[in-house]
């Protein structure tokens, strides 16, 4: 891959997600922003992890506790893209936490675990065992239950605990 294509491949998905976000934020309802942020958190987590996982597999097994050995990750474009998207995930997660309860964000964003398993199955040809399917169903039920509660139950003013 030439350097130019490499940069384009890195920038393009970020711009796509960004445009999507801008389009949707024009809706007047505040709840939609929280919902959109939730989708962004889940989506970036899944895409980032699948890309990183794909890149790591190409690199081969790293058996080391030294951070220097993990620097090799930056030699693989898939892994680099994965790390970049995970950085976007962290920012979206903080943005979501500014609007919603931790006890809401925690179960709802856990759907990324189920989606990562399913994406791994279809994209990276990983096997899903029966016990994994039970786990996926349980997570889905938990997410549905949590989504029925209001996203924020604390006060908006500055007089907050802690």
């Amino acid at each position: 891959m030439s350097a130019q294509k490499y940069v384009a491949a890195l920038v393009h998905p970020i711009r796509l997600v960004y445009r999507l976000a801008l389009m949707k934020t024009e809706t007047p309802v505040e709840a939609h922003k929280t919902r959109l942020l939730t989708f962004l958190v889940i989506g970036s987590n899944v895409v980032g992890n699948v890309l990183l996982s794909h890149g790591m597999r190409q690199l081969g097994k790293i058996v080391s506790a030294s951070p220097l050995d993990y620097a090799r990750v930056f030699a693989n474009p898939w892994a680099v893209l994965g790390v970049l998207i995970l950085a976007v995930w962290m920012i979206c997660d903080l943005a979501l936490l500014s609007r919603a309860d931790l006890s809401f964000v925690l179960p709802v964003t856990a759907s990324s675990y189920a989606l990562i398993a399913i994406a791994g199955h279809f994209l990276l040809r990983e096997r899903i065992s029966p016990i994994h399917w039970v786990g996926i169903v349980m997570i889905t039920l938990g997410v549905v239950l949590a989504e029925e509660t209001p996203a924020r139950t604390t006060n908006r003013p500055r007089e907050l605990p802690l």
Partner: protein, 120 residues
Amino acid sequence: MKWILVVVIAMCNTLGDVLNTAGMKRQGELESLDPRSLGRMLARIVHNPFVLGGLGTLTVSFFALVSLLSISNVSFAVPATAISYVLETLLAKYILKEQVRWRRWSAVTLVACGVVMLTL
């Protein structure tokens, strides 16, 4: 050594998420997703001791997880994940004063069990 790492991961995860939530709530809601608001949010995070502390503890937790995975297999990280979910919800209820009723408790329990099963 393994169990020390499990405890470190669970503690740092929980502390990190609680600090991040407290910090972001103090900083105020992100109004919209346009570049300016996001930039302002990031600029304020740099001066927000809560969020900086939260990100720091999450980094410690990440490296603890990496070293745990290098000396044992993935299933050993399971207790850390499960404990974090329960602990974080408890702290969200009693320290962050969020309303955690039966729906959220059952949701967190289901999710924690489901995540454990996925790593088995």
